[in-house]
Amino acid sequence: MTLFLYAVGILVLSGLVATRWPRGGVAGAIVGGAVGLFPALHVLLTGATESLWCAWQVPYGSFAVQLDPLSAFFLIPVFGLPAVAAMYGSEYLAAWRGKKPLGAAWCFYNLLTASMALVVVARNGVLFLVAWEVMALTSFFLVTFEDEQETVRAAGWTYLVASHLGTAFLLVMFILLGRETGSLDFDKLAVSSPNVVFLLALIGFGTKAGFMPLHVWLPDAHPAAPSHVSAVMSGVMIKMGIYGILRILTLIGPPPAWWGGTLIGIGLVSGVLGILFAVAQSDLKRLLAYSSVENIGIITLGLGVGLLGIHYGVPVVATLGFAGALLHVINHALFKGLLFFGAGAVLHGTHTRNLEQLGGLLKRMPWTGLLFALGAVAICALPPLNGFIGEFLIYLGAYRGALAMDTAATTELLSVIAGLALIGGLAAVSFTKAFGVAFLGEPRSEPAAHAREAGLLMQLAMLLLAAGCVLVGLLAPAVVRALAPALKIVTGLPAATVENQLANGLGPLGSVVLVTSLFLVVLAALVLLRRSLLAGRTIGQSVTWDCGYAQPTVRMQYSASSFAQPVTGLFAGLLRTRRKLVPPEGLFPRQASLETTTPDAARETIYQPAFGSVGRGLGRWRWLQHGNLHLYILYIALTLLVLLIWRLG
């Protein structure tokens, strides 16, 4: 606990130092993160729980913090990823030196990390909400770093409004929980209506996590932020929503079946729609943001499977579902962080995120390209990397449940299987597109042709996360075994049962790692075989075969939107892709063009009409506010008078 407080202290202090000396902020982020990892790992591995309670002047507030294995588990990405991202960001932000207040940016960055750490350990409603609010505000200021751009400002406002609407639901939830006992300490909360609390938590935390259709801020805010901040937001911050749901679930008692079903429904909608919108994007960072919605969907599917397991009393399903969800939290932090770093390196090297302008970057940015490819394989849940392990556990939980349970639950579990399969297939579409169009082929524009490789610190940051992806993939059984204490809290099962079920589930996992290691051996053998076969033979160089066409040009390459067209065409009803077509005309056509954009469907069909009508409705009361100070004072006096009469009467 002491070390944990030191880590938070380092982050806050270095954040303040950063306003004078930006490098101090970077150093503080790295040191603070590294220090914080020790208590987190210690608690997670030993299963011990440490608490601290201090009185606090704020009504209903107390400085109640606790470091239990569930908190410790979430602290690993909370401290780990921002530390790596700080290393990356110190080089990434260098381009803005002298143009932007970097000190303020690092201050907010370190405060964001500290607030996330506090969110995870807070055990009092007020403390939790304060940390939650600091997290929202600091990340808002980080999103609006490039506030000279209109789109960035708009994204920032959407984010600010969305996160406060979400917080409002959390406020109501905590009031409901604390109403009876008059205390907001987590161990004194009383649950009278668990279903209402569950729904409030789902909306409040779901807004932060990015459940469809509450995700609307996410695809705007994540691309707008500087890339290392995008990585932290996508990799860690949205998981705070998942943490919140898990923590509330441990507080509000045994789940009825429909909770699991609801989470599975949300997971399916977020997963499938998230990845469909990702396929349709041609902005690299926006594509990654939508894929975060998809991955939150996968995590939610795991949670749903776990809840069904608890409800029906099938420990193996509960353990596997939650284990998959938790592991995917870590995995997503690793590969989404890596991919956002890669996208940032592309942006840094070419000054564009538009896939239609990129191409051929693998030759110009070999390391970034290699590591981005690795991240793409991982995020598509392909063996032998970490993404596969997490999804495998969820699959296994769903399959085991489908074999063991009665009909009602089985239908839901089978929809998880079908959904994961479809999501996996579509993820392959969007990431072959992202990597293939940006890094392979010929450059589609002048800046892409002269792209420069990212600097050493940026490469090192990517390398660290890539190594994480490989290690979690190959050491899967050990990693999953380490989750046992956290799983014990989430499932509410006795420790022995959890460990038994994990051991039960680890058998297949050991075999998976055996098979994937065999795959690597076979691959190595094939590399040697090919080398020995080709040794001493003629290796020709030529242009790409284009069916006898003599002069293939760059413009004839398949583009991002043409690659996605079969998908956008098939799902046109959901995606509503807009096409702007200038067709070729006349016998000797000169200019023709086609432009496709896929704006967010939820924003266009739900939020814009809703907020529009609210705005119009409230507009009628605008005459109340005409900027006349005397009238405002009159309002205040009138209000006081009314209150006085009410009080006396």
Partner: protein, 301 residues
């Protein structure tokens, strides 16, 4: 040692399946057709050649065939041959099986995009969509079988198929067989989804993705494709030949007979129908998914 029979047979005999398909098609067309062993000759020839690479390409293009073949070679370790269990069988190996094939596809697609050719991009973009739609059908179909067999490994599922199982739950097995057959045709670039013998790059899917590969790389791709066809046909053969005598060689021979039947069936399908319009293919794949879902409903009832 019996455990090694399925992968060894796959290694040796998989190119033969394509020979059988081609011979069937030739018979239907009234031709003599190429030798049944043609693919072996092709492989031997390609392995002796050098290679030509486009200047556009990078290491991804060279890695594609190797990753694909390595994934296929690993996948054959998981697939049983009828009653003969695979050397590696564990609960959930069916998911790993599907994702290994996914890895193979992922790198084939990237290698295609690496050439910068519009034709290969076209093939790649179709391939990823069709396989995304085929995946749920495959995993749901296997789920139906898993629930019947109360086992999550391919070997366990196949061991539970028997004449009795066909008698009591024939409808389920028939539905799953139909769904897996569609998945097989789509994943292995056969008619009615893709025409392996077309001469127009515009209409191809799988073949156009590998246009630029040559020499040993092309050999690896062809062999990998043959292995993929073999493993998926082996699953089908295990279903349609419910021979579970317990005698190794009898069971192996029975399933090999089943494989022959599957290959001839593919040949008949290819001879008797035209390729679907590309816009119709998703409907076919969704229909396969619906068949698998229907089988599941019947199992759960």
């Amino acid at each position: 040692m019996n455990a090694l029979i399925p992968p060894l047979l796959a290694l040796v005999l998989s190119p033969l399946l394509l020979g059988v398909i081609n011979r069937t098609k030739a018979r239907f067309a009234g031709r003599r057709g190429q030798p049944v062993l043609q693919l072996y000759f092709d492989l031997a020839k390609l392995l002796r050649k050098g290679a030509v690479y486009s200047r556009t390409t990078t290491w991804v293009f060279r890695a594609g065939p190797m990753v694909g073949l390595a994934a296929a070679l690993t996948a054959i370790l998981l697939v049983p041959l009828g009653a003969l269990p695979a050397p590696l069988a564990f609960g959930g190996d069916l998911v790993l099986f599907a994702y290994l094939l996914g890895l193979m596809r992922f790198f084939t697609v990237l290698a295609a995009l690496d050439t910068g050719s519009s034709f290969e991009g076209m093939g790649a973009s179709r391939e990823v969509l069709f396989s995304a739609l085929a995946e749920p059908a495959l995993l749901l179909g296997l789920a139906a079988l898993a629930r019947r067999a109360d086992s999550l490994s391919l070997s366990g599922i196949m061991a539970a198929v028997s004449p009795v199982a066909w008698g009591t739950g024939g409808v389920v097995l028939a539905l799953v067989t139909a769904a897996l057959m569609v998945v097989l045709l789509a994943e292995n670039a056969r008619i009615p989804v893709d025409d392996p013998n077309t001469h127009l790059e515009l209409t191809m899917i799988h073949e156009v993705m590998v246009l630029d590969h040559s020499g040993p790389d092309l050999a690896m791709i062809l062999y990998g494709a043959a292995l993929k066809l073999w493993v998926m046909s082996a699953l089908l053969a295990g279903l349609i030949v419910p021979l579970r005598s317990g005698k190794v060689w009898l069971d192996a021979a029975g399933t090999l007979g089943g494989l022959l039947i599957v290959a001839v069936l593919i040949g008949i399908v290819e001879s008797s129908m035209a390729r679907l319009r590309l816009l119709r293919v998703p409907q076919l794949l969704v229909a396969a998914g619906a068949l698998a879902a229907l089988a599941l409903i019947l199992v759960l009832r």
